[in-house]
Assembly symmetry: C2
Homo-oligomer: 135 residues x 2
């Protein structure tokens, strides 16, 4: 099979950020008590970082405190799909100017109860792939 | 807010398996070299286990060898969504009868290159939640 017909296309960083920005549901992946954990979150992209909300005392809050995380979003149709995965570090926003900047985004929480905290994931690495499904 | 108006509904095991069976794209989550990893996979549910394909030598293959894993699938509309997460153990099928049973399923690989191996995830725990989005 020639390379240009390969069913998997590696996306550029620009394409990966652009696709991430096109969806609102992603998944934060962390290690908690030695076990892999995954949390669906509504997110937005701001200055090439992932921004989402959580609340103190939640499992998600424990999971993002100072740890290495992965974050994934994808979308697909019957013909194919894409997936973008980033690896990075998550931190809870505490400085007033950071929180004010986060509040400029149209961020809707996945769970519409009070989510007073913002978490930002800074990417150390981002990889995106586009797939065509086989028949 | 009264309990019956809570925007998060915990789903029963039956509902969780039923919703898992309604989609074909999920995400396997593991720990590899001490880091959280996530892999989108096309899967089917067979006898309340998750079944997907991979190939020897892939990163996904390394990730599922004998480890504790999490698996997540979700779906959403503008009004709300659901997410089902299971924790369990993954193993590569090797016995002929296991492989023949797996081949009865309509499993399409996410990447349509040769995927000669089947992986089955046996759940130790399954949790499902349904969400209504806030305004």
């Amino acid at each position: 099979m020639p390379a240009d017909a390969d069913p998997v296309t590696v996306l550029s960083e620009d394409e990966s950020w652009s696709l991430l920005s096109s969806v609102s549901l992603g998944r934060l992946v962390t290690i908690l008590d030695g076990q892999p954990e995954i949390f669906p979150v509504n997110f937005v992209i701001q200055r090439r970082t992932v921004l989402f909300r959580t609340a103190q005392g939640t499992k998600l809050f424990s999971a993002v405190m100072g740890d290495r995380v992965a974050f994934e979003a994808d979308d697909h149709t019957a013909a194919g799909g894409w997936s973008v995965i980033l690896k990075g570090r998550a931190h809870v926003l505490s400085a007033t100017e950071e929180i004010l900047e986060a509040e400029e985004t149209p961020l809707i929480p996945w769970i519409p109860t009070m989510k007073p905290l913002y978490v930002r994931v800074v990417a150390l690495e981002i990889t995106g792939r586009r797939f065509e499904f086989g028949t």
